[in-house]
């Protein structure tokens, strides 16, 4: 019996798939970045179509300049927690800017989006009298937040407010706090939550809503404030969580709220207290990207044009798609083996997408997950459509 024994059975399945696969989809190295949508991988130029770089701001001149200035003025790292020596003027300004942009009174910046959810959920709900209700397809960081909190956690059916309603109705009078967690757009399939209905159901039962807009911030709503803005319930969300590592083109995360009690998290949230704060460069880049998003909607327009084009092209090619058009376009394959094969075909044809297989996917689906960027040029998208056309021909031959 050794520590490693438990990995053997699990890794055996993956090993079989990897041995058959010319490239390892889970250890791709971008040897040289050429821009927001291109990289060199093993000597070949690849179009990046699995990045979450929705607005394409990773090479925005203003953000790069702000990050460089921050390094020069404030150093390469904070070497400490937000709770101790790691809160600089930049962190406070970004919190104020995010709160203002979203229209909330309070905001707390964390070191990653993962930690924002982990930190908020684990601090807000506590055993034995609080209950957390989560959408079945929530991201791992929400599940982990529940585990760290130790509170009783109940799953409801994905995107099904009636399922939440039933589960809230079953709770006994001993339950005090009720925290409902869901996401705006889900990362794997790109499907969108009926946020308005969820908020209504939760509030009817006296529950509070934590909405993770990691993938939908900057993408949905008139001003890019997420699915809850689009659905007209931005002000009704109790806890709005987000990340800097997608539309904000940096790394970090945040929780925003109108509840003044949010400030309690600054000393009760372990993922806030016991880790170093985001570096000055990360904070400055996110601040610059936020300013750009709040004044310029052209990236969002371009993003949706690109999403519509790819979704229409894939539909025409006869692929089974997991959701209506959104910046995440997932193609469902028959099984893991076919998904590995398809992923390799796309790489050979110069396109990187994310390969996702169970248990990391809903409904045990094997998918190729593509994310569109506003920075994708028409030429980039031509390469993508050509590669998927080749793939569809290969799949058709295999089926014949």
């Amino acid at each position: 019996m050794s520590l490693f024994e438990k990995f053997e059975d699990k890794s055996r399945l993956l090993k079989g798939l990897l041995e058959q696969s010319p490239r390892d989809p889970f250890s791709v190295s971008m040897d040289e970045m050429l821009g927001p949508t291109r990289a060199m991988v093993k000597g070949k130029e690849i179009v990046l179509a699995g990045t979450n770089n929705y607005l394409g701001l990773t090479y925005d001149e203003g953000a790069i300049e702000a990050a460089c200035d921050a390094v020069k003025s404030s150093g390469t790292g904070t070497t400490g927690s937000r709770f101790a020596n790691g809160t600089y003027a930049g962190h406070k300004e970004l919190e104020a800017d995010l709160a203002e942009f979203l229209g909330y009174k309070h905001c707390i910046v964390f070191s990653t989006g993962y930690q924002a959810n982990l930190g908020a959920i684990s601090a807000l709900a506590a055993p034995p009298n609080d209950v957390i209700l989560i959408d079945a397809d929530c991201h791992a960081c929400i599940y982990d937040g529940c585990q760290l909190s130790g509170a009783e956690t109940i799953r409801f059916r994905h995107n099904d407010p009636e399922s939440l309603d039933k589960r809230l109705s079953r709770l006994g009078p001993e339950v005090k706090g009720k925290l409902v967690c869901l996401e705006g757009m889900y990362s794997m399939f790109g499907d969108v939550a009926p946020v308005k209905e969820f908020v209504e159901v939760a509030h009817k039962h006296g529950a509070q809503v934590l909405l993770d807009e990691a993938h939908s911030f900057g993408v949905f709503g008139e001003g890019g404030r997420g699915v809850c803005e689009r659905d007209g319930v931005l002000a009704d969300v109790d806890f709005y969580t987000g990340t800097f590592s997608k539309s904000l083109a940096s790394i970090g995360g945040f929780v925003a709220s109108n509840h003044p009690e949010l400030e309690y998290l600054r000393f009760s949230s372990r993922p806030y207290v016991f880790t170093a704060s985001p570096s000055p460069a990360n904070v400055a880049a996110a601040s610059a990207a936020l300013k750009k998003i709040s004044t310029d909607s052209s990236m969002r327009t371009r993003l949706w044009e690109n999403a519509e084009r790819i979704h229409a092209a894939f539909t025409q090619l006869g692929f089974e798609l997991c959701a209506p058009a959104s910046p995440v376009i997932a193609v469902k394959l028959k099984n893991k083996e076919e998904a590995f094969m398809a992923w390799n075909v796309l790489m050979e044809n110069g396109v990187y997408v994310n390969l996702a297989i169970p248990p990391g996917t809903p409904n045990a689906a094997s998918i190729l997950r593509l994310s569109v960027s506003a920075a994708h040029t028409n030429e980039d998208l031509d390469v993508v459509v050509d590669a998927y056309t080749t793939l569809s021909q290969i799949l058709a031959k295999g089926a014949a």
Partner: protein, 87 residues
């Protein structure tokens, strides 16, 4: 006593009917069957089966409880306990 036994059988049969489509190797399902190890299904698939059980019996089974369950028999017992608590 016989009433409990009969009910126990009904829950057991319900669970096995939900697990059978995932039982690709055709393992004989008993109270002692280890759901994840013997049936070689992943933890997420188990959570989805539990969701069907919840809707069938109109109960909520916390994730915390599921993570402690290994065998079909333990799942049957947990359902009886929760049915009693939540009725």
């Amino acid at each position: 006593m016989s009433g409990i036994q009969e009910d126990d059988d009904l829950v057991f049969h319900k669970i096995t009917s939900l697990l059978e489509p995932l039982n690709e190797k055709g393992v004989k399902l008993t109270r002692e069957t280890d759901i994840i190890a013997d049936l070689e299904i992943d933890s997420v698939s188990l959570l989805d089966v539990v969701m069907d059980i919840e809707d069938n019996y109109d109960i909520s089974i916390p994730v915390n409880t599921i993570s402690e369950i290994k065998t079909i028999g333990e799942l049957v017992d947990a359902i009886h306990k929760i049915k009693k608590e939540q009725s």
